[in-house]
């Protein structure tokens, strides 16, 4: 389906993967910094245990090495679309809470939101190459129930950012798997490279 004078899908894919890997790396680094800022601003204990938060995509996965390229992309895409909505929610709550338009936390949140959006777009591009095209944008983001107190919302935010940090690590690894030359079609599982 590629036009005669555009780069081959293989090359384009490798190019998107390496840029995506760099994006994921920067995102991870910024989310880790954001976590520090968040914890400080919200007066939380950095080592606080947060139970699994409803509606937050967990990065934890079984049989990760057996996933197909398409599976990886679809799971990543679903996750980052959700994070985009969750971060937008957090940003809104933040602005409501503090009233000021411009805070260090607000800026950091907005910056990460931007990167998450960019990464989402990147994933959509990669899915186009898989000849699948991205699924339609139906993201189910549960609105935090209104009875959630301020403290619970803060803990929820902590959970969101922690999972996002894990996802950024996973995404870089997913893209590296994707970038490996694989025999046969692009949706075949990458060969396991274990001695």
């Amino acid at each position: 389906m590629a036009a005669a004078d555009s780069p081959s899908p293989g090359l384009r894919r490798r190019d998107l993967c390496s840029r995506g890997i760099r994006l994921a790396g920067k995102m991870r680094s910024d989310v880790v910094d954001l976590l520090d800022t968040y914890v400080e601003w919200q007066g939380l204990d950095a080592s606080a245990s947060v139970a699994a938060v409803e509606g937050v995509p967990t990065a934890a996965v079984e049989r990760w090495d057996e996933q197909t390229g398409t599976q990886r992309l679809l799971e990543n895409l679903a996750a980052y679309r959700t994070f985009r909505a969750l971060l937008a929610q957090m940003l809104e709550e933040q602005q409501e809470q503090l009233g000021e338009a411009d805070t260090a936390l607000g800026r950091a949140l907005a910056a990460v939101l931007l990167q998450v959006s960019a990464f989402t777009y990147h994933l959509e591009e990669l899915l186009q190459l898989e000849s699948r095209g991205p699924p339609s944008e139906e993201v189910d983001v549960p609105v935090p129930p209104s009875h959630l107190g301020l403290f619970e919302r803060k803990l929820r935010g902590l959970g969101v950012l922690r999972e996002l940090a894990q996802w950024a690590v996973r995404s870089a690894r997913d893209l590296r798997q994707l970038a490996k030359p694989s025999p046969g079609s692009s949706s075949a599982p990458s060969p396991e490279e274990s001695p």
Partner: protein
């Protein structure tokens, strides 16, 4: 009939000659050597403040007939101190291993029991044949934010002790050193060296999980290192 008896270092031990009365005439021997009567209280053998060197075979013979009335293997030792436990993943993302040891010897046999819990899931730690104080866990989940909790319990006939480690999946990742590190002189350039190395063979997937290397060097005549 013979049996084994474990006692703590520094304890006072009283041994009875089987079913013999207190006032029976008996002879005690330790590892084939007669024991002096000063250690006897009637037919009981009293060992005060036992030390490690007093471990051994103790036998009691009836005075005139020299029938063996009682025999015991005394093992002097200590209850275990808190064990030292460490866990590490040198083959991420395949799994990790935990290894342990006691800070001081107990001088008697110890059994170790390890439990690995990830959230609600109890994981199996497969014991190595060698070394014996190590076991392996396979990762079931990757990229999890749920911490791992590893508890090691050591038990011996004189007591028990335990220690627990709690950690994140990433926190214990530590690859083995690079392999085949070779420094070769560069032809026609005495001030240069060509250094080559390999990924550690235990690292299963360097493409998806690339390793970063740092190199430092110095001529022998200098003390300061230079970094590449």
């Amino acid at each position: 009939d013979s049996h084994t008896q474990y006692e703590r270092v520094g304890a006072d031990v009283t041994m009875k000659c089987g079913s013999m009365d207190w006032d029976a005439a008996v002879t005690w021997m330790a590892n084939g050597t007669d024991i002096d009567e000063s250690h006897l209280n009637g037919s009981y053998l009293i060992l005060k403040n036992v030390g490690l060197t007093q471990s051994g075979q103790y036998s009691c013979y009836e005075g005139s007939s020299w029938h063996l009335k009682y025999q015991t293997n005394l093992k002097v030792g200590t209850p275990p101190k808190e064990p030292v436990l460490m866990c590490r993943s040198n083959n991420y993302p395949k799994g990790f291993y935990c290894s342990w040891h006691l800070p001081t010897p107990t001088y008697i046999p110890n059994t170790f029991n390890i439990s690995v819990i990830h959230g609600t899931r109890e994981m199996v730690c497969e014991k190595d044949v060698f070394p014996k104080n190590r076991c392996h866990i396979r990762y079931i989940q990757l990229f999890s934010t749920v911490k791992y909790k590893v508890t090691l319990t050591v038990t011996n006939p004189l007591g028990k002790n335990s220690t627990t480690l709690t950690f994140d999946e990433f926190a214990i990742v530590k690859p083995d050193p690079p392999e085949s590190v070779v420094a070769k002189p560069v032809p026609n350039n005495p001030r240069r060296l060509e250094v080559s190395w390999q990924n550690p063979s235990s690292w299963p997937d360097p493409d998806s999980f690339p390793l970063k290397f740092f190199l430092r060097y110095r001529p022998l005549i200098l003390d300061q290192w230079q970094h590449v």
